[in-house]
Amino acid sequence: MSVLEISGLRAGIAEREILKGIDLTVSSGEVHAVMGPNGSGKSTLAHVLMGRPGYEVRAGSARLDGQELLGLPTWRRAHAGLFLAMQYPVEVPGVSLEDALEETFVARGGGRGQVAELLQVEAERIGFRRQLLTRPLNVEFSGGEKKFNETLQLGVLRPRFAVLDEIDSGLDIDALRAVSRRIEAATSESDLGVLAITHYSRILHELRPDVVHVLSQGRIVVSGGPELAQELERTGYAAYGALEAPTEHAEAPPLLEDPFADPLA
């Protein structure tokens, strides 16, 4: 049993404080949703946890089983068991997924030559087109394919905690289900703890959270059970200091030729 414990976290960019004191504890096997309007600090939370350059931590801590993450370089946070599924996965020309993950396995002290098979297995599980495995990382992938690729890597790397930064954006409902099923399976198979950051409540119908937190203006203003997400759908964020409602994501067009095509594209 592992614990990711965030306490008193204050962070921002340059002079601007965006997170104004976050307290949040996720245990193995749990799914927590962090919801909030645009600009509430959701993505900042994700990147501060992973250590993206440019963010400055002013106070607080983020401990994974007691180990402080915030002082570690990004790659060591990954080795400690943290995974971030990015909202905008970056294209890395000329670099294959297999080569990249091999480096991680080697750096973690594992041997070479395990990644290829794991990729095949994971691709099969979520229905990721195998041809995409040999393409350079994310290059010319659709938005949906990129999110599948993030999920695939989560499956191969088997982290202890995964932060999902808007993993639902760009996915049609079938793809969203496939991604959600895989993450849900990880919570029971390998006791993955999940922090799902989302603007929309749509993913929460698929990835049923144990706890829902509402983030507004850099603070968690309310936490509750799954019923909180449903309430937000009706009443919007207004009661929590924001004007915007967590609208249902527009449904994907009914007949997509490519099931992974980005409906926003």
């Binding site: 370089p73 990004t74 971030l84 996965p89 020309p93 000329g94 480096e103 991680t104 750096a107």
Partner: protein, 445 residues
């Protein structure tokens, strides 16, 4: 006044026409000045530092270095052997020692079909029209090459003959303080096909001056693929020139790889002279330590519906420098032409520097042209993405740099060369002293 004595040129062997050619070039060289950095095409270069007095031409006679070529004819130095192994099956091999051909092999079936490979010095008049047929004389160094070329390596493929496996030309430069003048002429007849790997290396620590000239002639509908690999030692200066002529519906592919040298320059001049001809020009260069790589390119369109596509990618780290300067010229009458020119540079250290200067000169209306250049560090987003997946910074950087060059490797159709080149690039990224202290390899002088 040249430090190179006239008799060093006139004592070189060869048929009368070649000796006359050398003498004329020597006269022109004597009468001309060496270029200076004040000239646009030498701007940003290190040519003002060149001290010709520090080098001596090779051959027979006073003031020259006399070489024994016998050893290399029997056994290749490890650096060349590695290239031969990587290339694998080949159509032919020429070993060139300090500019002199010491070994030639050609598949007998190709010889029967009229393919000719080897030294022109032993040839009669048939080579007269060949040498210099493609080159322009952009500067005194091409004259210097012509005056002092000990040999001319020729690859001649008759009309309609396809040489499927590569021809390998391996140069070994190991004359201490030597000035070496390799000359290669590839002539592909109408509708023929040939690929040539032209590799030059020298022992670590050796100081020398290499002035290679390469002439590539792709006849109508011919397909010529050229790979030029430069892995000279870190104290070698190179001032090279590559000229190509592309005929009607012909295809020329050239990939230059520059990893070695102290100051290593190649000027390329690709002329599209026949309707529908295409040249596809690529380069991969990577400097470290105090190296400098210098590329000047000309894509010269002189026929309608021609295409040139240039992509040069380089990296600089430590205190190294790189220069790319290129011109697309579209002459009157070259309507329907497509010309693309892209230069991208990764700057991997605060002390490293790259210049990139693309240029267009268009005299025709109905054309499609683009040029782009970029100089910058590794993309922070890419680095963060990989590190978030658990790659340590050195591994992330290595993969990103290798990935950056991968599209150039894709253009090297001899896939056996890919892995050694990846390893050579990766070796550059490893931290450690970048100085060569002791010579290594097989020196047969």
């Amino acid at each position: 006044m040249s430090p190179f004595p006239a008799d060093a040129a006139s004592n070189l062997s060869g048929p009368p026409w070649l000796r006359a050619r050398r003498a004329a070039a020597f006269e022109r060289f004597q009468a001309s000045d060496l270029p200076t950095e004040a000239e646009e095409v030498w701007r940003y270069s290190r040519i003002d530092e060149l001290d010709l007095d520090a080098y001596s031409p090779l051959g027979a006679g006073a003031g020259v270095v006399v070489m024994d070529h016998a050893g290399l004819g029997r056994e290749l130095p490890p650096a060349l052997q590695a290239v031969a192994v990587a290339v694998g099956e080949r159509a032919g091999l020429v070993v060139v020692h300090n500019g002199k051909v010491v070994r030639t092999e050609l598949e007998p079936t190709l010889a029967e079909r009229g393919v000719m490979l080897g030294s022109l010095v032993d040839d009669d008049a048939s080579g007269e029209g060949l040498v210099g047929s493609v080159t322009d004389v952009p500067d005194a160094f091409v004259d210097l090459n012509t005056a002092f070329m000990a040999d001319v390596v020729t690859v001649r493929v008759p009309r309609g003959v396809a040489v499927e496996r590569p021809v390998l030309v391996l140069h070994w430069v190991d004359a201490v303080g030597g000035a070496v003048f390799p000359r290669l002429v590839v002539q592909a007849g109408e509708a023929s096909q040939v690929s040539v790997v032209d590799h030059v290396a020298s022992p670590a620590g050796l100081a020398a001056f290499v002035v290679p000239v390469v002439e590539l002639d792709a006849g109508d509908a011919a397909n010529v693929a050229y790979v030029g690999m430069q892995e000279l030692g870190r104290r070698v200066w190179q001032v090279g020139y590559q000229a190509s002529r592309v005929g009607r519906d012909a295809m020329l592919g050239s990939v230059l790889v520059a990893l070695g040298g102290e100051y290593a320059r190649v000027a390329t001049d690709s002329r599209l002279l026949g309707l529908g001809g295409t040249s596809r020009l690529r380069a991969l260069y990577f400097g470290d330590g105090a190296q400098m790589h210098d590329f000047r390119t000309l894509q010269d369109h002189d026929a309608p519906k021609t295409t040139s596509d240039l992509l040069f990618k380089g990296a600089v780290e430590d205190e190294s420098r790189a220069v790319y300067s290129g011109l697309i010229r579209i002459r009157k009458g070259a309507a329907g032409t497509n010309a693309f020119q892209t230069n991208r540079n990764l700057v991997l250290g605060e002390g490293a520097h790259a210049d990139s200067v693309p240029n267009l000169e268009i005299e025709e209306n109905d054309v499609k042209c683009s040029h782009a250049s970029a100089v910058g560090p590794i993309d922070e987003e890419q680095r963060y993405y990989l590190e978030a997946r658990g790659l340590p910074p050195e591994a992330a950087e290595r993969l990103i740099v290798l990935g950056f060059f991968e599209e150039i490797l894709d253009d090297i159709h001899i896939t056996g060369l890919h892995e050694p080149l990846r390893q050579a690039v990766a070796a550059k990224l490893e931290t450690g002293p970048k100085l060569e202290t002791a010579p290594s390899g097989t020196a047969t002088a």
